[in-house]
Amino acid sequence: MQNLKDLKEQVRKALPELDVVIGWTGGYDPLHATPHFIRRDEDIDKLQVNALCVHNLATYLPSMRGKKVGIIVKGCDSRSVVELLQEKLIDRENVTIFGFGCNGVVDQTKIRRIVGDVGNIESCEVSGSEVKVSASGTEHKLAMSDVLSDKCATCRYPNAVLSDHFAGDEVTTTATFEDGYKDVEEFEVKPEEEKFGFWLKEMDRCIRCYACRNACPMCVCRDHCVAQSRDPHWLSQEAHVRDKWMFQVIHAYHLAGRCTECGECQRACPVDIPILLFKKKMNKEIKDVFDYEAGINPDATPPLMTFKIDEDKITERKW
């Protein structure tokens, strides 16, 4: 990011009033960034903002309620913050949003598939169009377009939709809503049995680690999650595909009209199950029926938390 200097300056100015500012910094190897909690001036120098900063830091906000928190957000992350505000899970006066225009982040899975052994990364350089990775003595030049996260290729909100401070210039985009749902449409037209079989096979891999849930900024029940609750007992602790699949449907349904498609659930999944597809399908239908997108307007009410006496797009059954 060209304007990292500006951003650091904004954080430095605001820090005395805040308990913490959440950003990113270098991770355990040069290829990974990690969340970074800035409490002192010297922490600011370690701040990193580039295409490796994939984490949606909004996940931390609900648990920090009551503290004065600053948060650095990409466009998609900012929607999570807005959604949390909409649902009154965080308080506007306690959150300071540092936004910027994002050009996209990498998909570590795509990199892993090309580079192979990511256990021994020696260096990584990111520029606008290229990621140069050297691993186990070999240098790989990866085109950014090949390793970009899918969500970024069709991003409609690259700039923070709500911010108190904005660093750098806004990024322009031409993507439309429809562009983002081509994958859903392609999958939808497959025969019923094929789709059913697909999920049985995919879900069978799930190890019930719940990384998908823990990474999701809108999954706020935490210790009261139905996945572990025994009253009501929605899911058994068995490793049966029916429980694993059911959990993903629960996640999609509890996120209906709330999911901002940050993609963190799918990114966090250690066995690469394409669970974002469920959430995208739900969003596509929400848009169609209620003409609504989550996390855009802090004053809006998510559509499943309200109703209209005469619905515009829901027609009654004829029988």
């Binding site: 859903v184 999958f187 939808e188 019923e192 049995e193 094929e194 789709k195 059913f196 079989g197 697909f198 999920w199 049985l200 929605w234 049966h240 595909v241 029916r242 699949w245 059911m246 449907v249 629960i250 999609a252 349904y253 209906a256 597809l277 469920f278 399908k281 739900m282 239908e285 929400i286 169609d288 029926v289 559509p303 499943l304 109703f307 209209k308 006496i309 619905e311 829901i314 009654e316 059954r317 029988w319």
Partner: protein, 154 residues
């Protein structure tokens, strides 16, 4: 071979206490002829129906699920069915991505006096499920296991 094979499918109906359960009762009292595939679960209000009840029912091996509540504006709790309508509509649209035919699920409104209408709804829905046939099953689903035990006992 199980005695009911080919004749009955497993259909679960979630009916609200105030209108549709009453409607089904009216149909019974009026001795209207009805298919016998539907198993009724009475709930206090259609607003109490979590769409996930329906998913769980289908995943456990049901061939069809029918939800029926009070007509809009007639809810005993004023607005339960308005919330239900939004949630259920989204479910109907979500099922295809799972590979479940959305025709296996439907929701409708039947009032306590509409015995005739109830007869029509349940007959049409059952016909619809019979046209689709048995639903794809997840091996080891609860209902399958229960059914195997029951068949063994027959």
């Amino acid at each position: 071979m199980p005695i009911l094979e080919g004749k009955e499918l497993r259909i679960v109906g979630f009916l609200c206490n105030w209108c549709s359960y009453g409607g089904a009762d009216t149909a019974g009292v009026g001795r209207f002829k009805q298919p016998t595939d539907l198993r009724v679960i009475k709930v206090p209000c259609s607003g109490r129906i979590d769409p996930l009840f329906i998913v769980k029912t289908l995943m456990a091996g049901a061939d069809g699920v029918l939800v029926s509540g009070c007509h809009p504006r007639d809810c005993h709790y004023s607005e339960g069915n308005y919330y239900a309508r939004r949630r259920l509509e989204m479910l109907k649209r979500f099922l295809p991505i799972m590979g479940i035919d959305p025709k296996r699920f439907d929701y409708t409104w039947v009032s306590a006096s509409e015995g005739q209408r109830w007869q029509e709804v349940v007959t049409k829905f059952t016909e619809q499920i019979h046209e689709l046939g048995a639903a794809p099953k997840i091996a080891g689903a609860e209902a399958e296991e229960t059914l195997k035990l029951m068949e063994a006992a027959l």
